[in-house]
Amino acid sequence: MSTGRPDRKSRTAAFWRRACTALAAAVFAVTAQLPVTSAQAGPAKLHVVATTSMIADAARQVGGEEVRVRGLMGPGIDPHAYRQTRTDIAAMTRADLVLWHGLYLEAQLEEFMHKLAQRRSVVAVAESLPKDRLLRHDDYANQYDPHVWMDPQMWTGVVAAVRDALIAARPNARATFEANAARHIAEVEALAAYAADTLRSVPEQTRYLVTAHDAFNYFGRAYGFEVIGIQGISTESEAGLNRIAELVSLLVEKNVGAVFVESSVSDRNVRALIEGAAARGHKVSIGGELFSDAMGADGTYEGSYVGMLDHNVTTITHALGGTAPARGMNSRLSAGS
C-alpha cells in the first residue's frame, strides 16, 4: 500500500471528532424527549417562596395545585431575628413570586427584599392593608405593629393580597385563585366567629394576656383583652430588669393567675416572672404555650393558620377561666391544648 496508515496526530483528531458527534447526538436525543415528557404532566407549577409559615399556609390555600410553595421560616423560628442564608437567597432569586410580610416583621430582611423587588416579583402582603386599621408601634413613631395575623378579620385582608399577587403572577388561573381564596376566607371568618364566641366566656376580671413578647395586640383589640408582653414588639429588644419588677407588681395587683410562653421565644423571662410573683406570695402558673410568630409543626393541624389560632384561642380560654370545647373549633386540636 503506497499511502500507509495515517499518522498518530490525525488519527487522534479523527477519534475526537467522532466522539463529539456521538455525544452531541445523544444529548440532542435526550433533550428532544424532555418537552414531550413535561408536556404530558401539564403546565409548570408557579414557584412561590414565602417568608413566614403563616403566609406560606395562605399561599398554599389560595394557590392550590397551581403553586409550589416553599416557606423559609419553619415552626419555632422567630421572624424578628431571622437572617437569610445563601440557600434562601438562591430559592428567592429562582422563584416566580416572593411573598413576605413587611411592616418590619422580618426586620433583618428589609433591605434585601427591597433590592430583590427590583429584579423579581416581590409582594409585601401585609403592607396592602389599610393603614387606619393598623395599630401603631409603641416605640417608633412611623412604624406599625406587624402582628396582624393574630386577628382573623385582619388576616382575611392578607389572604386577599396573596390572591391578588398570585393572579398578577399567573393571570390565566384567576378563576381558581378567586375560588380558593373565597373558600379560605370563609374558613377564617368562621374562625373569627368561634374566637369571638369562645373568648366572650372569659370573665372580665381575668382578661389579662401576659406573654413573652408583645405579639398579641391585635388579638387584644379584637377580643377585649389587655395584652402585656415582657419584651417589646420585637424580640430583638432586651427586657430590662425593671420591666420584670413592673410586671410582677401588675400580676399581683390584678390577681392574674396564668401567663403564657411562646413557641418561638425563649421562656426564661416568663419563668423569672413566675418566680418573682412567687416571692411576693402570689402563685402564677403557665397557662400554656401559644403560637405567636410561628405556627406548629408541619403536617399537624396546628401547623396551619386556622389550627394555630384555634389552638391559641382555646388555650387562652381554658387558662383564664372561660369555657371552650376541649379540642377546639373543629375538634382537631391535639390533646393537652
Binding site: I77, D78, T85, G240, N242, I244, N269, A272, A297
Partner: protein, 404 residues
C-alpha cells in the same frame, strides 16, 4: 427616680432585681480578683480570645442536645460546651505561638476571629433548625439578666465562691510566676501549671459571666478593675482585693441602676459603672492619680523656689525673683527686710550640703537611673543608701554653717 434607685440599692426593688444584683456582685468580685493576675501576667488579650471562643461551644452543645431529643435549653450543658470550646481556643493560641513563627498577638487575633465567626455561623444555622425552641443563644453575646432564675443565682454564687477560694489559695504562686517566672521555677513552682490554673479560673469566670454580661463584655470585668486598683496601691495583695472590691461594686451599682429605670441593659451598664470607677481612680487616687500629680507639681514649684532661695542665701547672693522671696517669707525663712532668720540659715546650710552631695553623686552614678530620680523634692538621704552617702561625705568633708 431616686426613690427607685435607693430601693434598688437596698435590695427592695423586687425579687428578680435582688437575684440579679447578688449574682452580678459576686461575679464582679470573682472577675476583679482573677483578672488582677491576668493583668499582671500580661495575658489580658488572651482572656478576650478565650471569651470569644466560647461561642461555637454553645452552638454545638445546643445542636447536640437537640439531636439527643431535648429542646436545647439545658443551661449546664450549654455552659459545659462553652467551657470546652474556650479551652480549645486557649490550646490553639498556645500551639500557634509556640509552633509557628507567629507572635502571640497574631495567634490571639486569629483564634478570636475564627472561633467567634464560627460561632456566629452556627447560630445562623441553628435559627433554621425546625426542632428545638430557641434557647436565647444570642443572649450569650451581651448577657440578658431579666430572665435570671433562682437556680441560676445559686450556680453563680457557688461558682463565684469557688473561684474566690482558689484565687486566695493560689495568689502567692500566681504572684511569683507573674513577677519573676525564673525565680519561681528556681524555688520549685511549676510555671506551666500555675498559668494553667490561672487560665482555668479565667474560664470559670467567663462561663459564669456569660449570662450576666455576655462574652463580649466579660473581658472588661476582668481587666478594668485591676487597672483601676493599680492606682491605689503598690502591694500586689492590696491590688487584688481592691480590684475585687471595684468589680463587686460595679456589679452591684450596675445591676441596681439597670433595675431602677426601664429598658436599661444590665451588662453594659455594669461595664460603664466599672469604667467610671476607673476614671475616678486615675484622677483622684492619692500619689498615683492625676489630681495628686497636679498637687505635686504645685508643691514642686514651690520647692524649687525655696531651694533656689536657700542656696542663694547660703552663698551670700541676692535673691532677685519675687516669687522666691515670697515663698521664703511664707515659710518663715526670711524676714520682711530680706534678711535670713535663724531657721533660714540652718535650712540654707542643709541645702548647701545636700547640693554638694548631689554634685558628687552625679559624678559617681553617671548612667544611673538615680539621676533621673533626683527630683529635688527629696533630700539625698531618701534616695541613696547610708553607705552610698557615707562614700560621698568622705569626699566633701564635714558640714558647714552659713554665716548670718
Amino acid at each position: 427616680m431616686f426613690e427607685t434607685l435607693l430601693d434598688a440599692f437596698l435590695f427592695r426593688a423586687g425579687y428578680n432585681a435582688a437575684l440579679v444584683t447578688v449574682g452580678t456582685t459576686l461575679l464582679g468580685i470573682a472577675a476583679g480578683s482573677t483578672g488582677t493576675f491576668i493583668f499582671l501576667r500580661k495575658r489580658a488579650l488572651i482572656s478576650d480570645a478565650v471569651a470569644h471562643a466560647t461561642l461555637p461551644g454553645v452552638g454545638i452543645a445546643f445542636m447536640v442536645l437537640v439531636a439527643l431529643g431535648g429542646d436545647g435549653r439545658n443551661l449546664p450543658a450549654l455552659l459545659a460546651g462553652s467551657a470546652l470550646s474556650a479551652w480549645l481556643g486557649l490550646l490553639a493560641v498556645q500551639w500557634i505561638s509556640r509552633r509557628t513563627r507567629l507572635a502571640e498577638d497574631a495567634a490571639i487575633g486569629a483564634v478570636l476571629s475564627v472561633f467567634f465567626g464560627g460561632g456566629i455561623v452556627l447560630l445562623t444555622v441553628i435559627q433554621t433548625m425546625t426542632t428545638g425552641r430557641r434557647a436565647g443563644l444570642e443572649e450569650f453575646l451581651l448577657g440578658a439578666t431579666a430572665g435570671m432564675l433562682f437556680h441560676d443565682a445559686v450556680f453563680i454564687a457557688a461558682a463565684g465562691l469557688l473561684v474566690l477560694t482558689l484565687v486566695i489559695a493560689l495568689r502567692r504562686a500566681m504572684t511569683l510566676v507573674a513577677f519573676d517566672p525564673g525565680f519561681a521555677t528556681s524555688v520549685g513552682i511549676s510555671v506551666a501549671r500555675t498559668d494553667l490554673a490561672m487560665m482555668a479560673l479565667t474560664m470559670a469566670v467567663t462561663v459564669v459571666g456569660l449570662k450576666l454580661v455576655g462574652l463580649i463584655l466579660i473581658v472588661a470585668m476582668l481587666i478594668i478593675p485591676p487597672v483601676a486598683a493599680r492606682f491605689w496601691s503598690d502591694s500586689t495583695n492590696s491590688v487584688v482585693w481592691i480590684a475585687g472590691l471595684i468589680g463587686g461594686t460595679s456589679g452591684f451599682l450596675g445591676a441596681a441602676l439597670s433595675a431602677s429605670a426601664p429598658d436599661l441593659p444590665t451588662g453594659p451598664i455594669i461595664v460603664l459603672v466599672c469604667f467610671a470607677l476607673f476614671a475616678v481612680s486615675i484622677t483622684f487616687a492619692p500619689q498615683r492619680g492625676l489630681f495628686a500629680a497636679m498637687l505635686r507639681y504645685r508643691a514642686f514649684h514651690r520647692h524649687v523656689h525655696r531651694r533656689q532661695g536657700l542656696l542663694a542665701l547660703a552663698r551670700g547672693e541676692e535673691i532677685l525673683d519675687p516669687v522666691t522671696v515670697s515663698v521664703l517669707r511664707k515659710a518663715g525663712l526670711v524676714r520682711r527686710d530680706g534678711v535670713a532668720t535663724e531657721a533660714g540659715r540652718a535650712q540654707a546650710a542643709r541645702i548647701l550640703r545636700d547640693e554638694r552631695r548631689w554634685d558628687i553623686a552625679r559624678q559617681i552614678h553617671r548612667d544611673e537611673a538615680v539621676i533621673n530620680r533626683q527630683d529635688i523634692l527629696r533630700p539625698i538621704e531618701d534616695v541613696l543608701t547610708r553607705d552610698e552617702i557615707a562614700e560621698i561625705d568622705r569626699r566633701i568633708g564635714p558640714p558647714e554653717a552659713v554665716p548670718s
